[in-house]
């Protein structure tokens, strides 16, 4: 009797262990599954190189001298609809929000769609370029063609010789993340340039030069405390200290990437100090003693003998720092805001990839597809970094042995 009861409780306990483990593994699977399912449709090179802000154009034909255009061979392409009358080819496609659009697939050099008269103030002549999307075309005495109807209908209506084109409304594709990619790269480089030397030198001080007394101990614990500070608090630090500082000493007039990089530097500093110190600690004291015995001073010993041996640790620290910069959102939202830019300037604010997601998610309605695509990119980078660090640590420990 008693024994049976014990067995039952064991089964329950064991299943709770397996269940928990399954849930933990499932959490990661779920995240990857969801992000990939939602994000892959938009995953293409254009997204990475394209501008976020799309420009709208309203134009009319300069002259409607039509001719016979030689059209390209379309037999191998799907979802394209030629409009022989004007020498253009339209394509059924989706934009970066996943909505169906009518895209321009081909424009003949002599087509009237080149050198149109712009109806906007300022510009005079516009061209219809490959990759642009049609919003609508208005005709004289005929109902307007809308992109909602699909490319086929659009092309059929445009091909109709009865219809005289009155006004064209088209735009760039937009929604690209070029600006955010460039911002992220800028932030990574600037942050590393500030934080890695700073952190490595501080680690050297603590491991090689610092006396072991209460002052050193207090300094260490102060730096250690930084790891527990939430990133949003770093954001507050950024806007009160680094933004005013950079505004004063650089051409920047408001929040800017330099202030962002300074904030990120403080965030990754404790990690870099700790990781570097760990790798300095495994350098055998014999090596220091041997160098000192040869008449080298402490500085020479540290920089010529000790530091080179700690380089795998510093590289690991750098990778961890990159990971943190790529993932950081809250602090950057505070320091840099969430306005997406296409042209990036270090004296101006712009968004990193993570903040780009924030910006998309706080939009009405939230753009989950594009956010997921960016998330795929971020996860891929984080994955590579993680593996690199793992391999790095392995190499480091092998060396240590």
């Amino acid at each position: 009797m008693v024994k049976r009861k014990v067995r039952l409780s064991e089964i329950l306990l064991n299943s709770s262990v397996f269940l928990s483990t399954t849930l933990s593994a499932l959490a990661l699977g779920l995240i990857f599954f969801y992000v990939i399912r939602e994000g892959t449709t938009l995953l293409n090179w254009e997204l990475f190189t394209g501008n976020y802000h799309s420009r709208n154009y309203i134009a009319e034909f300069q002259d409607e001298q039509l001719q016979n255009y030689d059209m390209p061979d379309l037999s191998k392409v799907e979802n394209v609809y030629p409009v022989d009358r004007f020498g253009i080819v339209l394509q059924e496609d989706i934009d970066l929000a996943g909505n169906g659009v009518v895209r321009v697939y081909y424009v003949h050099p002599d087509s009237p769609f080149n050198k149109m008269i712009s109806k906007e103030v300022g510009t005079e002549e516009v061209d219809l370029d490959v990759g642009m999307i049609f919003q609508r075309i208005s005709y004289v005495n005929h109902p307007t063609s809308l992109s909602r109807g699909g490319a086929q209908k659009f092309a059929t209506e445009l091909s109709d010789p009865q219809r005289e084109v009155y006004e064209l409304f088209f735009s760039d594709l937009g929604g690209g993340i070029k600006g955010s990619i460039i911002t992220t790269i800028y932030l990574i480089f600037m942050t590393l340039i500030i934080a890695v030397p700073f952190g490595v030198l501080t680690a050297i001080y603590f491991n090689e030069f610092a006396p072991s007394n209460w002052i050193t101990k207090t300094m260490r614990s102060f730096i250690e405390t930084l790891t527990g500070v939430p990133s949003i608090i770093y954001g507050l630090l950024g806007i009160t200290v680094f933004v005013p500082l950079t505004v004063r000493f650089t051409p920047a007039v408001n929040s800017n990437l330099i202030a962002g990089a300074l904030t990120l530097s403080v965030i990754i500093l404790p990690t870099i100090i700790r990781t570097t110190e760990e790798s300095l600690r495994v350098v055998p004291d014999d090596h220091r003693a041997a160098s000192l015995a040869l008449g080298a001073n402490k500085t020479q010993t540290t920089f010529k003998v000790v530091l080179p041996q700690a380089s795998p640790g510093i590289i690991t620290a750098t990778f961890l720092g990159i990971g943190r910069v790529i993932g950081e959102s809250a602090a950057l939202i505070f320091v840099l805001g969430a306005a997406i830019k296409d042209t990036v300037n270090i004296y101006e604010p712009s968004t990193s990839l993570a903040v780009h997601i924030w910006s998309m998610m706080t939009d009405e309605p939230a753009n989950i597809a594009l956010s997921s695509t960016i998330a795929i990119l971020i996860l891929a980078i984080v994955l590579v970094i993680n593996l690199s660090v793992k391999i790095g640590v392995k190499l480091l420990t092998r060396k240590g042995m």
Partner: protein
């Protein structure tokens, strides 16, 4: 010869001092953070905020509505409900993620064969390295519709699924890897002879794991939980995306929208000056105080619990 020697050691002194200055700067950041945020955060309470009058400290700490009156025309801010929400959500998060995290650690450290343990460890590391904004994204896309549906079928109205439970789910996902990683290390450090003694007494491996291993590792496991609580309290973007950013509270119902200190901090970002901007620093002070006291409190409990049979 003598000359070079002195200059070499002089270099050491100079380099040492320069490095010390860097180290001092590095260690001063925490002081700078505390000082600047405290000063900026106290201002709304002691200045008249350009004629609007100062914010009432007591009301700020206890009121159940974020802002009574019109933005930029009122200083009647209240964050009492936000504090309660923050602690409540952190508590629920630990309640949910702690058992899962610890049992996963137990699986990795004691149950799983080596290759599976290694795989699981990598999974946990990856989960830990996922940026919080991605958790927020998955929370919005995956959890909110499900929670919205469940809430509706049960007759609750929820703001598109944004709710206490959604926040707790997202924070739990983020806490599990922290708890697991720390717990696994401390479980592996348990003196093997304790486990052998238990087995030698006729206890089964399962009984030994739950009664002895977890007990002996409790101090480390607790540390992991403290870390996770700290992370839950400080997490901002993911929470802001799924909490619903309620302007009043507190919200105890699982399907109610809610707001934490961090999510409230992220609101009203469009403004760059004025009281609605400055009050965020006051929230910053609140956040630091809440994290600090929670940490001290939990560490106190840990020491007490640890001492009984440590």
């Amino acid at each position: 010869m003598k000359g070079t020697r002195t200059s070499l050691s002089q270099i050491d002194t100079i380099v040492g001092s320069l490095l010390m200055i860097l180290a001092l700067v590095a260690s001063s950041f925490i002081v700078i953070i505390a000082a600047f945020i405290t000063i900026r955060g106290i201002l709304p309470f002691i200045t008249d905020n350009n004629g609007l009058g100062s914010v009432n400290v007591l009301q700020f700490l206890t009121d159940t509505v974020w802002l009574r009156g019109t933005t930029f025309l009122s200083t009647a801010y209240g964050a009492g409900f936000v504090i309660i929400n923050t602690l409540y959500i952190a508590f629920l998060t630990v309640l949910m993620s702690f058992p899962i995290g610890v049992l996963t650690a137990l699986f990795i450290a004691k149950v799983a064969p080596r290759p599976i343990a290694a795989t699981m460890r990598t999974i946990i590391e990856l989960l830990a390295s996922i940026p919080s904004i991605v958790f927020g994204l998955v929370g919005v896309g995956l959890f909110l519709p499900v929670i919205y549906g469940i809430a509706r079928s049960m007759g609750y109205s929820s703001g598109g699924g944004s709710s206490v439970i959604a926040t707790v789910f997202v924070l739990s996902l983020m806490s599990i890897p922290t708890i697991t990683a720390v717990a696994e290390v401390s479980i592996r450090q348990v003196d093997e002879s304790l486990e052998q003694a238990s087995l030698a007494l006729g206890a089964s491996p399962t009984q030994t794991r739950f009664k002895i291993t977890l007990l002996a590792a409790k101090s480390g496991i607790f540390s992991g939980a403290i870390l996770a609580v700290g992370r839950s309290l400080g997490e901002a973007t993911a929470v802001a995306l799924v909490s619903g950013n309620a302007r009043s509270g507190p919200s105890f119902g699982l399907f109610e929208t809610t707001a934490t200190i961090t999510s409230t901090l992220l609101q009203g970002l469009k403004e760059t000056n004025g009281i609605d901007y400055d009050i965020r620093f006051s929230l910053g002070i609140l956040l630091m105080v809440v994290i600090l006291t929670t940490n001290l409190g939990l560490n106190f409990i840990k020491r007490k619990v640890g001492n009984v049979h440590g």
